[in-house]
């Protein structure tokens, strides 16, 4: 029987030392490195003691799946293979996780949508799979540029959903994500999202933990369900769903099952706050105008705040790091002084603004925009322009930007 703590300080077959994750992430020296987001995913996986990675080659959206293949060739990943479609990949991930493996995969855009049926199944079966979602357009005409519409579909799957702003977030959160999602009172899959292309294809300085340190291995004996027991739920449900029986007991069982999945999402709050130092980050929350954003819209918001400061306009910022569990209380507190709440988004529907409106009092304060979609960029000047318009300040038209 595996005992996570007993292996701390010992070495794996690649000579990496299994290290207490808290020490590895917070105390170990970091090396600044200049990498693309895809390369950062590979470097995080090198340190993740991952048993199985199943890939569908989502190039050109991200090279991560191919790069992790190199890790397998080097001996850092237990097993690695290609599925015949995203649906197949996510089903195979479930099989590996049912068998007690630490599992990793990546997807994006149309692939996420094709595989969608699997995600509530993962949650219902309490499988702590980590899936990187390098968001891209999901509708025709297709785009590999960032468009975060697919996140809206993930929000009600019962998965944990985090939204990284930078490659540094990505590196840290991949490793910390396993610590949260593998807690026995959580034990849910994690969709770790970023805005593809911007984060995956551009290079940035990322501070990496030592390559000779790695996470302790996954301990399947802490799972809240038996692993790979063909006679018992959750595996048995694949062939004999008790919900197919039409009686009160079946309905009561299914209802309790769903409630338990969402209770586990809520229970992740405590662990997520510990590892990510809160579900949100804030700056200047006493300002009358506050930008609330997630993903790279946060970066554009920061730049807009700098431009506004040059003109003497003070503006605050709320970076929403975690979407499930939803940081409702934190956002209510951070926006309580704001007269105007600006929510810039990289999608056409404005799902983040809707979530915020449903959370805070006096929701008419929320300005759902600016929004870009289909892979358009969001110049910070657009955010500045919207804020100035809201404040009744004359602004130059952006139309001439082309």
């Amino acid at each position: 029987m595996a005992d996570t703590h007993s292996v701390i300080g010992t070495k794996n077959k690649k000579g990496q030392t299994f290290t207490d994750t808290w020490k590895m992430m917070n105390d170990a020296p970091r090396t600044p490195s200049f990498y693309t987001g895809s390369e950062v995913i590979k470097e995080a996986l090198r340190r993740a003691s991952c048993d199985v990675m199943i890939a569908y080659p989502i190039t050109p959206q991200s090279e991560a799946a191919a790069l992790i293949g190199e890790l397998f060739a080097e001996g850092y990943i237990g097993d690695y293979f290609r599925g015949e479609s995203e649906f197949a990949v996510m089903s195979q991930c479930a099989g590996a996780a049912f068998g007690g493996a630490r599992v990793f995969t990546t997807t994006a855009g149309p692939g996420t949508m094709r595989a969608m049926e699997n995600f509530p199944m993962w949650s219902g079966a309490r499988l702590p799979i980590q899936m990187i979602v390098t968001c891209r357009g999901i509708n025709s005409p297709l785009s590999i540029q960032p468009d975060t519409l697919e996140i809206a579909y993930l929000l009600n799957t019962g998965m944990l959903v985090w939204h990284a702003e930078t490659a540094q977030d990505f590196f840290d959160w991949i490793l910390k994500g396993y610590m949260v999602s593998e807690e026995p009172d959580v034990h849910l899959p994690l969709a770790l999202c970023c805005d593809g292309f911007f984060v995956t294809h551009t290079k940035d300085v990322v501070n990496l933990t030592p390559a000779d340190m790695c996470l302790p291995p996954y301990d399947p004996y802490r799972s809240p369900v038996p692993c790979m027991d063909m006679e018992c739920p959750p595996v048995r449900m694949m062939r004999d769903p008790f919900v197919m029986k039409s009686n009160y007991i079946s309905y009561a069982t299914h209802a309790s099952w769903q409630q338990e999945v969402w209770a586990a999402v809520e229970r992740s709050r405590k662990h997520t706050i510990k590892w990510l130092n809160g579900l949100i980050e804030t700056e200047n929350t006493d300002a009358e105008v506050i930008i609330v954003a997630s993903g790279t819209a946060v970066s554009q918001g920061r730049e807009a705040i700098r431009l506004l400061e040059d003109e003497g306009i003070r503006c605050g910022l709320v970076k929403v790091k975690v979407l499930r569990p939803w940081p409702g209380e934190e956002i209510r507190e951070a926006t309580k002084n704001a007269k105007h709440i600006i929510v810039p988004e990289f999608n056409v529907t404005g799902w983040l603004a809707k979530e915020i409106k449903a959370t805070i009092p006096n929701s008419e304060r929320v300005h759902a925009g600016p929004r870009v979609c289909g892979g358009m960029t969001m110049p910070p000047e657009i955010i500045v322009s919207e804020i100035k318009t809201l404040l009744g300040i004359h602004t130059v038209s952006m139309a001439s930007r082309g």
Partner: protein, 191 residues
């Protein structure tokens, strides 16, 4: 749904985090007050799949024997296993087992008014505890080996042989000091 679970060294009673010591006392009181105090051991302690499980099983048997020694005439301690989680149709035999998909049947049939889950996988325990809470008025205790259960009215965490033995000690310590609910007209187990 979603209360904050206890940290190591703590327990919860009705969702309020308390020092573990207080939970031992309350659990022992609830056992000694009940007309049919019952232990539901699950697969993690029913099968000797490692040495620790076998030792826990022995400790649970000791707790059950202690309960039998410490209750008053008219109280009927029971030990009913949850051997597995398979959905069983048309229904289980509530005299010999409890099943997480319809645990209320066993509670109702045996008029159980206080029960303790031990050795049940967390997801299945929470599932059963939710149904018991929704469909019966049975007092529920969880001796959880992991992080604890918000769906139990009282929950320990990090269950070990020592903790089970300590609960047995508390039952023995409180013997004769707790008035059982024998005079109530109905079992607390009805809905």
């Amino acid at each position: 749904m979603g209360i904050c679970l206890p940290n190591p060294g703590e327990a919860h009673i009705n969702g309020v985090i308390v020092p573990e010591e207080k939970a031992y006392e309350e659990a022992a009181k609830q056992f000694l007050m009940a007309k049919v105090p019952t232990i539901f051991p699950g697969p993690l302690v029913l099968w000797a799949w490692n040495e620790k499980a076998a030792k826990k099983a022995t400790a649970i048997r000791h707790l059950y024997n202690t309960l039998k020694e410490c209750v008053q005439p008219g109280q009927t301690p029971m030990l009913i296993p949850m051997p597995d989680y398979r959905p069983k149709y048309p229904k289980i035999n509530p005299e010999v087992e409890i099943n997480p998909n319809h645990p209320n049947l066993t509670i109702w049939h045996n008029k159980i008014d206080c029960c303790m889950f031990v050795g049940v996988h967390c997801h299945q325990a929470n599932l059963a505890l939710k149904i018991i809470r929704g469909g019966t008025s049975c007092y529920t205790i969880a001796m959880c080996a992991q992080a604890g259960h918000e769906d139990a009215m009282l929950s320990f965490r990090d269950a070990s042989v020592e903790k089970i033995m300590k609960l047995a000690e508390w039952v023995r310590k409180l013997k004769g000091t707790v008035q059982p609910r024998l005079t109530s007209a109905k079992s607390g187990a009805s809905n």
